[in-house]
């Protein structure tokens, strides 16, 4: 598969009154054509900052790429000027934001907002742009598009607004679509519709998607590959099956264990103790060590490298070192994995 995006050793920092906050600390991943990569993690883990860096949307000057490369079609996005960025942004790289209530301009008709990018990037005339906007509204399944195109955002419901946001993001046939928690603000039934819509459109346009979320259920639904982030680092990356059925990092175990399944019994949920670390002074060693019940002495001393589990599956935990004792996931997590395997995807409710 063709590599479309290659992120190498990305470090992003923010200068604050308290000092330098290292929000992203050495992230490596790539994105292939037509695939969906999900990035999961808690708030503050650096997942949104990573995508902001990809889009060149870091708040300047206090947020900056300290080190590393973001290669998009052999160009390093991190080094482009604002003017060059504007040529890519919205055209090749496009973004769907979390909150459909605030990401649209309330004073502009939705049609005009969709046409904006088309006129700017594709050099379309107004009539052409309008035709394309109408097409897009139909693509995202907004009923009665001819009427709706003339309306303002406040006349749309949350789910319909998010469809408009998707339409804007898709307007110029982007090669990479970055969706930052696109369904978090929506109800489950609407969420299901938007997810189906995005998958459907991906099939038609063959674009690549980076999907940021903290909902593992959504990840299982949309992702081909998954990257788990913690304290500014990717701690585990692999195909969706590898992450869900054969997780290796204790943090991934914790995330999986803390969600109840529909057939789980009354036993206590597996909760990760404590809270995420302060990235103003990232801890020495593995940032997850203080919350990790399996932490060894070395975890507090040295950061674990990425250990290879398979060609596509890597995890940063000393537990995978050959000198480490063999530790199985906690019982509740193992039980969940077993029950998923026995379900065999038949899944009837």
């Amino acid at each position: 598969m063709k590599k479309i995006l290659d992120v190498k050793n990305l470090n992003v920092s923010f200068n604050t009154y308290g000092g330098e906050v290292k929000a992203v600390r050495g992230v490596n991943f790539d994105l292939h054509k037509g695939e969906t990569l999900a990035i999961v993690g808690e708030s503050g883990s650096g997942k949104s900052v990573t995508t902001k860096a990809l889009m060149g949307l870091l708040p300047k000057p206090h947020g900056y790429v300290k080190e590393g490369e973001i290669l998009f079609e052999d160009k390093d996005i991190a080094k482009l000027s604002e003017k060059e960025l504007q040529k890519i942004r919205g055209k090749d790289l496009s973004m769907i934001f979390q909150d459909p209530m605030t990401s649209l301009n309330p004073t502009m008709k939705v049609g005009t907002q969709i046409m904006e990018g088309l006129i700017k990037h594709q050099k379309m005339s107004k009539t052409q742009a309008k035709e394309r906007a109408l097409e897009l509204l139909k693509l995202v399944k907004i009923p009665n598009a001819e009427e709706r195109i003339k309306q303002y955002p406040h006349q749309f419901s949350g789910g319909m607004r998010q469809r408009v946001v998707v339409a804007i993001a898709l307007a110029c046939n982007p090669k990479v679509l970055i969706a930052d928690e696109p369904t978090t603000a929506l109800d489950v039934t609407i969420q299901a519709q938007i997810l189906d819509l995005m998958k459907d459109i991906q099939k038609k346009t063959d674009s690549s998607i980076i999907f940021i979320t903290h909902d593992l259920g959504v990840v299982a639904n949309v992702a081909d590959r998954v990257a788990v982030m913690y304290a500014g680092k990717i701690v585990e990356i692999g195909t969706v099956d590898e992450i869900f059925y054969n997780p290796k990092h204790p943090y991934t175990w914790g995330l999986l264990g803390s969600m109840p399944t529909l057939d789980s019994d009354d036993s206590e949920l597996y909760a990760i103790p404590g809270t995420p670390p302060d990235l103003l002074n990232p801890p020495k060693g593995d940032a997850f060590a203080p919350r990790n019940q399996f932490a060894m002495d070395i975890d507090f001393e040295e950061q674990p490298p990425m250990f290879k589990v398979s060609d596509t599956h890597y995890a940063a935990t000393w537990l995978l070192d050959e000198r480490a004792p063999k530790i199985d996931p906690p019982e509740s997590v193992q039980k969940r994995i077993d029950s998923m395997a026995s379900n065999d995807g038949k899944g009837d409710m």
Partner: protein, 309 residues
């Protein structure tokens, strides 16, 4: 659901209508009837705007009900009450709010936030007792007593929600309404708070009304679940029964929409869509008991069909 269980709360035909203009009225809650048994957790689920939060807020009298009765231990708590009666009722029923950021007064110390109820109800005889009580509560919810002199902004979301829980428990209530207490928290922290709520319920025999839209969490914490749609309750059943055998088409579509953390399952899932127009509109549907303890909003014809299954 046996009849022998004690009813803590009986809600009869509760209505909450808001006037939004001269002629327009929003029927946020439109004729709810249900019971909450002592010591159980009743989950209340539905989409945003279906009236689930309004229901909780009306029960605890943050809003005055438009119509209907709320009987708490057999006494009607809606309508005019003397200050004394109100105070007694307020002590027995408490609420945990959704947003741990806006539900704590930023100008008060944790000590004063938690002790506010203790002060109002004169539950402590002297300053020392008040302090001891707050320390006890902090420990109960997994915080430290040295946290008492800090302000809310010094805490994380999960810790704040624990403070909110401690505040609710301060007056030793019997019934707690938890309005989406975990929606604003991270996944790993959600599990901590849910475990805490479950433990408290077991240790103290509390009764919960748990309002949420996260169905898998609701299933986990609730004994029974009520599903709301547009101000009406469409289904009420034991949580296992509801998940195994949902009857109302809306419940079915809601259940089929929950994404589960299982990739194989997700690849093969089939979603059910709900179209309110599928119902027979010539007859006003009623809330009927199909099997013992399993209630569904249905017309006579639908009722017969459900029964036949």
């Amino acid at each position: 659901m046996g009849q022998e269980r004690e009813k803590l709360l009986e809600i009869k035909n509760l209505k909450q209508h808001f006037r939004t203009g001269r002629k327009s009225v929003v029927k946020a809650v439109d004729g709810l009837t249900f019971d909450v048994y002592k010591g159980e957790t009743l989950g209340l689920v539905g989409e945003s705007g279906c009236g689930k939060s309004t229901t909780g807020r009306t029960i605890i009298r943050l809003y005055d009900a438009t119509d209907g009765q709320v009987l708490f231990k057999g006494e009607d708590v809606q309508g005019k009450l003397s200050n004394k009666e109100l105070k007694k009722f307020n002590r027995e029923m408490q609420m945990i709010f959704q947003d741990p950021y806006s539900s704590l007064n930023p100008r008060m110390t944790v000590m004063d936030i938690i002790a506010e109820g203790i002060d109002v109800h004169n539950l402590a005889n002297n300053e020392n007792e008040r302090k001891e009580r707050v320390y006890e509560l902090l420990e109960l919810v997994g915080l430290d007593k040295q946290h008492a002199n800090r302000y809310p902004h010094e805490f994380s979301g999960g810790q704040r929600q624990r403070i909110g829980v401690a505040r609710a428990l301060a007056v030793k209530p019997e019934f707690i309404i938890a309005d989406e207490p975990i929606s604003a928290l991270d996944v790993s922290i959600q599990a901590q708070v849910v475990n805490l709520l479950k433990k408290l319920q077991k240790d103290r025999g509390l009764t919960f009304l748990f309002i949420a839209h996260d169905l898998s969490m609701v299933k986990y914490i609730s004994d029974r679940i009520a599903v709301m749609y547009f101000g009406k309750m469409v289904e009420l059943a034991d949580s296992d029964e509801l998940y195994r055998n949902p009857l109302h088409p809306y419940t079915k579509s809601l259940l089929s929409a929950i994404p589960l953390p299982d990739p194989d399952y997700e690849r093969n899932r089939v979603r059910a869509e709900y179209d309110p127009n599928d119902h027979d509109t010539s007859e006003v549907p009623e809330f009927r008991e199909v099997t013992p303890g399993h209630w569904v909003l249905c017309t006579t014809k639908e009722f017969e069909a459900y029964k036949a299954n």
